[in-house]
Symmetry: C2
Subunit: 145 residues, 2 copies
């Protein structure tokens, strides 16, 4: 494998997993009592325009059944609420509580900090070439498959 492939592969394979587990423990330290997985569900709820069960599950790429159990737990723990759609009563719309929004905020802050550290340590703020490439990379993976 040529070097460039190796580097990107490593980034994909090793680094992301590592970051995810760091993130989990850091959040724990900061008193967040939900898993990274649950955090991702909250994120998906927030970012999904019409946050029905199907739409959220689609975004997360899990089955709706899987999401049902996640949402059950989030509702129990006070992070989310369910309501039926007024127009189409088959649909269930998920909303986030203040508690959830607060957790998301802390999570975002952690990401900001991590990236700030990265930027200040690596001095890449101004590197337009890198950013363009990363943007392409990101776009590529989001669309290709």
């Amino acid at each position: 494998m040529i070097k460039s492939k190796k580097v990107i592969n490593e980034l994909l394979v090793e680094v992301f997993n590592h970051i995810l587990s760091i993130e989990g423990s850091k959040l724990k330290e900061r008193g967040i009592k939900i898993s990274m997985n649950e955090m991702h569900v909250l994120e998906a709820v927030k970012k999904t325009r019409d946050p029905s069960m199907s739409n959220i599950a689609g975004r997360l790429r899990v089955t709706v059944g899987t999401l049902t159990t996640s949402v059950n737990r989030l509702v129990e723990k006070g992070y989310a609420t369910r309501k039926r759609d007024g127009k189409d009563k088959r649909k269930v719309i998920i909303s986030l509580t203040d508690k959830a929004l607060n957790s998301l905020r802390i999570h975002d802050e952690f990401h900001e900090e991590m990236l700030d550290a990265l930027f200040s340590d690596m001095n890449i703020e101004e590197d337009d070439v890198l950013l363009q490439s990363l943007e392409n990379l990101s776009f590529y993976f989001k669309n290709k498959y």
Copy 2:
């Protein structure tokens, strides 16, 4: 958030998860009947120099107890074998079977293909700046935390 942060954040948050789930389904299509998680265990076994339970668990950042159950299943399914270390009989050394090595090969091939597609579509083969930056990024995350 400034744009560059946004791009890297997106790469971390969205792209990685996406790729992982694509990868899972692609491997399924190619007749690999193990989960991505199990694949990661096989990878870790292969890459760990002295593949005892503790060393492998450390690399994967899971508890040894967790690894025990994963290895149990891999042994049941014929992907791995256990043996005791000759010198220190407390240690359990994991080895991979041909079946495991074959699965790893198919997995690697998928990664190669994915990256080949990326490279040919994006024409970044020669982009030394990008590669250097990605390498730094990779190094940074591996060492910082």
